[in-house]
Structures are given as C-alpha cells and as structure tokens.
C-alpha cells in the first residue's frame, strides 16, 4: 500500500469537508491528491493493496457517532445506519421476521470475519469484482481504457459476467445484499457537503454502465450514504431470496434472486423481483413482475415469470449457463413465497 495519512472524522459534515474524490473518479482518472473515506474499509483497502487507488489521505467515518443504529417501527419501517455491520443485520430478530429476504441475503454474503467488519453503506457502494477491472494490468473502459477485456469472444474470461444490460461493461454488481434491498423498495439517504440530506430509491441509486462508464452509483465526491430505509411491510408481504454459488461455503454470486410480494391467499397482488449477478447493477425484472402479478403462485406461473425475465438475456461466450440458472432460481424463489 502507498503511504497515506489518516483522518478520524468526528461528524458527517467534518468528513465531507475533508474528502475531495471518489474511488470511481480515482480509478477512472488517477490523481496523487485523493482524499477518500472508508468505513469498514474492506473494499477501499482492496483497491489500495492492488495499487489501483493511491490515496493521499483516508478519512475514517467508521467511528462517527449515530450511524451504527438499526431501528424498526411497525408503521414507519426499517432504518439501518451506514456503519451497521453485516453481522449486526444478520443477528437482528426484527429484520429476520419482517424482512426475511434481506436476512437471507446478508447471511449468504461474505464470511463471518468479513461480516463483523463490513458495513452496509460500504457493501452497496463497493465496486464490481470483474477480474480485469480489479487488475492493474488491464486498462478497461471503467478505468478510462479503450476496451473491455471480458467481452472478447475468444480470450475473455467471462463466465461470471453479465447476461443483461451488458453493453459497454459486462461486469456484475458485487453486492448481493443490494438485490434484496432493491426488492424491498429500499431508499438510500445521502448527505452532501451543504448539510442537506436527499433520499433516493435504490432503483435510482445505481447507475448503468451506459449512462456513465466510470460510475456504478450516483455518489459524488462530497456525498456520503448515511442510512438505508426500507418501507414497512404489510401483513400480506412475503419475501424470499436465493443465491447460487460455485462453492457452498462462501462465494460471489453466480445468480441471486430476491422476491417481495403482496399476496392475497395464494394469489400474487403485486411483485418486486430483482436479479443479482445478472447485469452491471442490480436488475429489476419488470417482465417477471408483470407475468406473475394477479396470478396464482404455482409452478406453471412461476416458470412463465422466470422465462419472461430472461427474454432480453444476451449471454457472452462463456456464461450462457446463467440463463437456465436464472430461470430455475427465479422460479424457485417465487415458489418459496407460496
């Protein structure tokens, strides 16, 4: 790691006064003057160890008071501070009973050791795991380069990559927790340097590669996630989450699906279906949602919804297995609801 100084932030405003860049900006156009912040620091240290991020200063927001709380209210819903660790979410009884898909997603994310350190804010803001993007030897589009190494039909190692929205970048988003959060229609609270707070739906928080190749989310240099808010579930809300991995113990997702439904008996009244590891950002499948809404939740209708989700899929040379994998996983996740 390069030499950097350390600033221990006392408040959100204090931290925002210090920072002058984002990891995304630094990866796209490196400077030697970056001040970036970190909470748990897992993704930040990963980039610094790789030599792709050379910060002059790291602002530690981990110990800012008040950002490590979980609060649940039956009417107002759930608020999770940006510094809450994944382990704290996994062991929260109200999240397990009211937001099952989120509980399941967190429980299948990373390792026990990483869950004790990784925070929710950092988890959703982490950059993708494409091995070319993470390699100092590969100057890809995301880093201001002139090509996508993963896309190449012969030399591209793209078995873990995107099958949907895979235009200029074929990476998949690294956060499987974001899949569940988006399915619950979660919002991200962002604080800016002027002391203002804005609340943005998860659907609008992530930025597609087509919109801006350098970014995976809307966070600007002087902005910070302070909270994630989930609306209160009704007594008819049901949720489920399934993640497919190559290695059972722990692994990055090959295909993960979160389903949140309002049900009446065994009929789906409304559905929120989000796919992880399918596209460069968590992918809401409007096609699957429409296919299952106002239908009985059964094997036939679940299969139809799952197939509808894959109509726009454009697999790469080595990842066409993901299409049937998603079909069966979406079907299975919907059927978990019934």
């Amino acid at each position: 790691m390069n030499k950097f100084s350390w600033y221990e932030a006392k408040s959100v405003e204090d931290a925002l006064e210090q920072v002058n860049s984002t990891i995304s900006d630094e990866l796209y156009e490196p400077t030697s003057k970056a001040t970036v912040f970190k909470s748990g620091g897992i993704d930040v240290f990963d980039w610094v160890k790789e030599g792709l991020l050379k910060p002059q200063k790291i602002v530690n927001i981990r110990n800012i008071p008040g950002l490590d709380q979980i609060s649940y209210d039956r009417k107002k819903g759930l608020r999770i501070g940006c510094n809450v660790t994944l382990a704290e979410i996994a062991s929260n009884p109200e999240i397990k009973s009211q937001y099952l898909a989120l509980h399941q997603a967190v429980n299948h994310a990373a390792t026990p050791q990483l869950r004790n350190v990784s925070t929710l804010g950092g988890n959703i803001a982490q950059r993708n795991r494409c091995w070319y993007f993470r390699s100092a030897d590969h100057d890809c589009f995301r880093k201001g380069g002139d090509r996508c190494f993963a896309r190449h039909s012969e030399t591209g190692e793209n078995e873990n990559h995107a099958i949907l929205d895979n235009g200029s970048c074929v990476s998949v988003h690294a956060s499987s927790i974001a899949t569940a959060l988006m399915a619950f229609n979660a919002s991200v609270v962002i604080a800016n340097a002027e002391g203002k707070r804005k609340t943005v739906l998860m659907d609008d928080f992530f930025v597609s590669a087509g919109e801006d190749i350098a970014m995976e989310n809307i966070l600007q240099a002087k902005e910070i996630i302070t909270e994630i808010i989930l609306p209160a579930p009704s007594k008819n809300t049901r949720s489920a989450y399934i993640k497919q991995v190559a290695r059972e113990s722990y692994d990055w997702s090959l295909a993960d699906v979160a389903v949140v439904m309002e049900v009446s008996g065994n009929t789906c009244k409304s559905a929120s279906i989000v796919l992880g590891a399918a596209a460069p950002v968590p992918y809401r499948s409007v096609e699957a949602q429409q296919a299952i809404e106002n239908k009985t939740i059964n094997s036939e209708n679940a299969t139809a919804a799952a197939e509808a989700a894959m109509t726009k899929a454009r697999p790469l040379a080595k990842n066409d297995y993901k299409v049937p994998l998603f079909v069966s996983t979406i079907k299975q996740t919907i059927l978990e609801i019934s």
Partner: protein, 211 residues
C-alpha cells in the same frame, strides 16, 4: 504460551531455530528502521482523537493485545496483521491471501473474529485484540487446541491458527453446537490440505468437553 515476548527474553534459544535465524538475519535492518520511525513518532492516547489527522509517517500507538497494553510505532497503512507479526513479533497469526478471502489471519477484535490483513492498526483504537497466542490460558491449551492435536486437525498448519480462532469463538459462545454450526463458523477459513472433516470432528469433541 500466553506471554511469548517475556518467555523469549528469559530463555534465550541455544539452538538456532528457523524463526530466530530469520529474525537474527533481519535484525540490523529492523533496528535502524525502528530508530528512524521513533525519532518522528508522536504519542497519542487511545482511542484515536477525532477531528485530527495522523501520519502518513509512523507514530506510536497503544494497543491492548492478549490482555497486555503495548506501544508500537506504525503508519496508517500498517495492517493489524503486520502490526502483530512485524512489530509485536506475534507471528502465530498467518497472512496467506492478504485480501480477506482465506481467514488465515483471523484475530478477535473485542471478542469478534475479523481478518487482521484487511484492517489498519489505526482501526483498532481502544478495542481489545486477541490472537492465537492469547487462546491458551495459564499455560493450558484451550479444549479446541487439545482436540485439534487429538484429532489430527492440521496438515501443513498454515490455516490452523485462523481455523482454531474460528472454532474457539464458536465453542466459547454457542451452547452445544452441531455440525452445521461448526461449518458456519469456519465458512471463511480456507484449508488447501482439506483437513475440514478433522477440524469438524475436533471442534465437536471440544464442545462436548466444555459443557
């Protein structure tokens, strides 16, 4: 066992062990580095004061490790793993992948298992660090350590300290754990020799003994 540093001072090794040979070979370089960094070292009281900038040069911090408060001179980029191994000579903690993927470097921070390779020594603050050297108490091995020996739960041994840390944490915090609990506790610990079945057996046996 508990206080390795003192043991070493009171009992100088007569035969040259691999470890002391390596340490001796690097001594002249190490001491000159220490002198240089100490010359500019700043003192601070734990936990790290907020609203202040530290580094990038080395400064003296205090860290409570295995019940003893130590002073060490580190930079913000010094990982906890490096602080333990290179500065405090607690080399029981192993660094393998150096990216939080294998958990060989597992230590406890306030009793919770973490990857010491992925956090800065500056992240520790007033939290208490427990390493593999702090698991045996009063010269007696923890039941998990005894069971690892009894059930032949290590081969090359490089994953063993991290594996023991995960299993001790489970046994000390979970009443009557089952096989699934052991698998969950060791999910992050990679063993290239494939000693998992013996690790599981040893941990379950140790858990029975501690009831």
């Amino acid at each position: 066992m508990e206080n390795k540093d003192q043991d070493r001072e009171s009992k100088p090794a007569k035969t040259i062990s691999r470890r002391s040979f390596i340490r001796g070979a690097g001594l002249s370089t190490a001491s000159s580095v220490l002198l240089t960094s100490n010359a500019f070292a700043l003192e601070y009281k734990e936990p790290l004061a907020t609203g202040k900038e530290f580094g990038p040069d080395a400064m003296t911090i205090k860290m409570k490790v295995n019940g003893i408060t130590k002073s060490l001179s580190v930079e913000p980029r010094t990982t906890l793993a490096s602080a333990l191994r290179d500065h405090l000579e607690l080399t029981g903690t192993k660094v393998v992948c150096d990216r939080g993927s294998c958990s060989a470097c597992t230590v406890y921070l306030d009793g919770k298992p973490v990857n010491s390779c992925m956090i800065s020594a500056f992240d520790v603050g007033d939290k208490e660090v427990t390493t593999i050297e702090g698991i045996a108490k009063n010269g007696e091995l923890h039941p998990v350590q005894e069971a690892f020996i009894e059930h032949d739960a290590s081969q090359c041994g490089y994953c063993t300290p991290g594996m023991v840390m995960s299993c001790v944490h489970l046994v000390d915090n979970t009443p009557d754990p089952n096989l699934e609990d052991v698998k969950n506790a060791t999910r992050g610990n990679l063993c290239r020799c494939g000693t998992y079945p013996h690790v599981f057996k040893a941990t379950l046996a140790a858990a029975k003994k501690t009831i």
